[in-house]
């Protein structure tokens, strides 16, 4: 898959015509892969809901918050009270890492992928 | 023919405002008897009837589509019906190639004074569609047969 870039902005997607697997085809997600890149609605900073209001937070704060909450729920209700949903927008490697995190760290097999929804 | 099984075709008629609609008016006004299968839609010119309208009519379950306009050279927009005359044969070819009998689409010219012709065209076209039977697209939801989509739901 190729992204068309014009003046530093991603403007379109093209399939790779000589790719041995896709052979020049893309699915609808592939064809529109460029659309979220410059989207105004895109989340660029972590937000934490404080007293019902989403407030900007630093990465450190957000990550320790998530980790703390996950650990709390795991310890309180057991690992199977957690579930993880991964994304088609992640790479293979990212999905693999998320699988490892879920099974080895969180201790549950409850992991699935959005493509199976 | 298939009049036995009681099939009455539904035909969408696109009638141009200046000639054919007036022609239809005249046919009614002079109490001409003609088939009641055509549902008329008044358009300003037969040239404004896009292939999209025609295919949408078939998709919605029409058994036939009739397009009528002013005679060549008499268009109230000078050359609007030239467009119709060129476009309809192309649409017919495409319909035929995709598998919808091109006979289900008809183009004819009816002027405001031709009430009798309008009655004749409508009756003849209705008879033709009656003999062709219901449209093969009838009963499909977005192209799929209704029962099928219900079964899978």
């Amino acid at each position: 898959m190729y992204l068309e870039v014009m003046d530093g902005k991603v403007t379109g997607t093209l399939p790779s015509m000589n790719h041995p697997i896709s052979e020049g085809s893309l699915c609808i997600k592939g064809w529109n892969a460029h659309e979220p890149v410059h989207s105004q609605k895109r989340l660029t900073k972590p937000l934490i809901r404080k007293d019902g209001v989403l407030t900007e937070a630093s990465w450190d704060e957000a990550i320790s918050n998530v980790a703390g909450e996950l650990a709390r729920i795991r310890d309180q209700y057991g690992p199977n009270s957690l579930a993880v949903l991964t994304s088609a927008k992640c790479t293979n490697e990212e999905n693999y890492l998320l699988m490892k995190l879920t099974r080895a760290v969180l201790g549950t097999n409850n992991i699935d992928h959005c493509a199976r929804l | 023919m298939s009049a036995d099984n009681g099939f009455e075709p539904t035909i969408i008629g696109f009638l141009c405002n200046w000639c054919s609609y007036a022609g239809a008016d005249l046919a009614g006004g002079s109490r001409k008897k003609y088939a009641a299968n055509v549902l008329p839609i008044r358009v300003m010119c037969s040239g404004t009837v896009s292939p999209h309208h025609i295919v949408k009519a078939f998709q919605m379950g029409a058994d036939g589509v009739l397009v009528t306009g002013c005679h060549i050279g008499e268009c109230h927009y000078m050359k609007g019906n030239y467009m119709t005359a060129k476009r309809i044969p192309v649409v017919k070819e495409l319909l035929g190639f995709i598998g919808i009998s091109p006979d289900r689409l008809m183009l004819d010219w009816v002027s405001a004074s031709e009430g009798e012709k309008f009655a004749r065209v409508v009756t003849e076209f209705s008879d033709k569609i009656r003999s062709l039977g219901p449209s093969p697209l009838k009963g499909r939801v977005h192209g799929r047969v209704k029962e099928e989509s219900q079964a899978s739901a």
Binding site: Y2, E4, M6, D7, T11, G12, T13, L14, P15, S16, M17, N18, H19, G24, S25, L26, C27, I28, G30, W31 | P51, H52, V55, K56, Q59, H71, I72, M78, K79, G80, Y82, M83, A85, K86, R87, I88, P89, V90, V91, E93, L94, L95, G96, F97, I98, G99, I100, S101, L107, W109, P136, L137, R140, H142, G143, R144
Partner: protein, 265 residues
Amino acid sequence: MEELKKKVKQALEEGKIHGFLGLKADEGDISPFFMTKDNIAELEKLTAPDGRYSLGKILSRIAAQNPGKAIGVMVRGCDERAIIELTKASQLGTASTVQFGVACTPQTAEKCNCPQPYPSTIDFGEKAKSVNHGELLTKLEQMSVEDRLAYWMAQFDKCIKCYGCRNICPVCYCQECTLEDKNLVPGGIVPPATPVFHFIKAMHMADRCIDCGLCEATCPSNIPLRTIYRHMRKVMQELFDYVPGRAADDKSPLGTLEEGGRLIH
């Protein structure tokens, strides 16, 4: 190829062209690229591979960014025809093109089933024989109407509505696409309204299709789209003696109010 690179380089340096659009090979991956005098080293990667992209479409986007400028473009037979159609539809704006013709190899011509695998002027390669396999078209034309409907419905039911055929098509340039009209093609349903979706595309292709075959090549469901469009090309030729992509001063009979073809009186 070296000679072609030299030609392009010279044109760039002399200022005859502002930039150049072609195909490059990067570790075996073929992709389109656009370069100007500032990154002339890119030119080394220029290639005329087996793979194709719709350079005409990319050119129209570049032309919109560079009004009034001359843009060099590597053209094959299909790209040349696409540029003719885009010019007719005023899609290149005020930008002009300098074309560097590349003839396809017999293998590429065979793979693309291309009746005209070379542009009008050739700067690189040799004219390959034209290829024209039309077995499916002939078979379909001889079928009964009922069988054809069954055939196409089965094909159209495979459609996953990826819009790939439209996205890749070098002569699909509309900003607002009829295929996204909710009244004609209701959203959220796959396969999309059959046969309306494909009927609309075919109708729009009738006076535009340059028979490059990219739609069929990119279709993930392998719908033989090109066969429909080839039939429409044939119809246009028979009715109006009109062939899209033949000459820039041709006018589409479906786009003009003139008399033409077999008028029904």
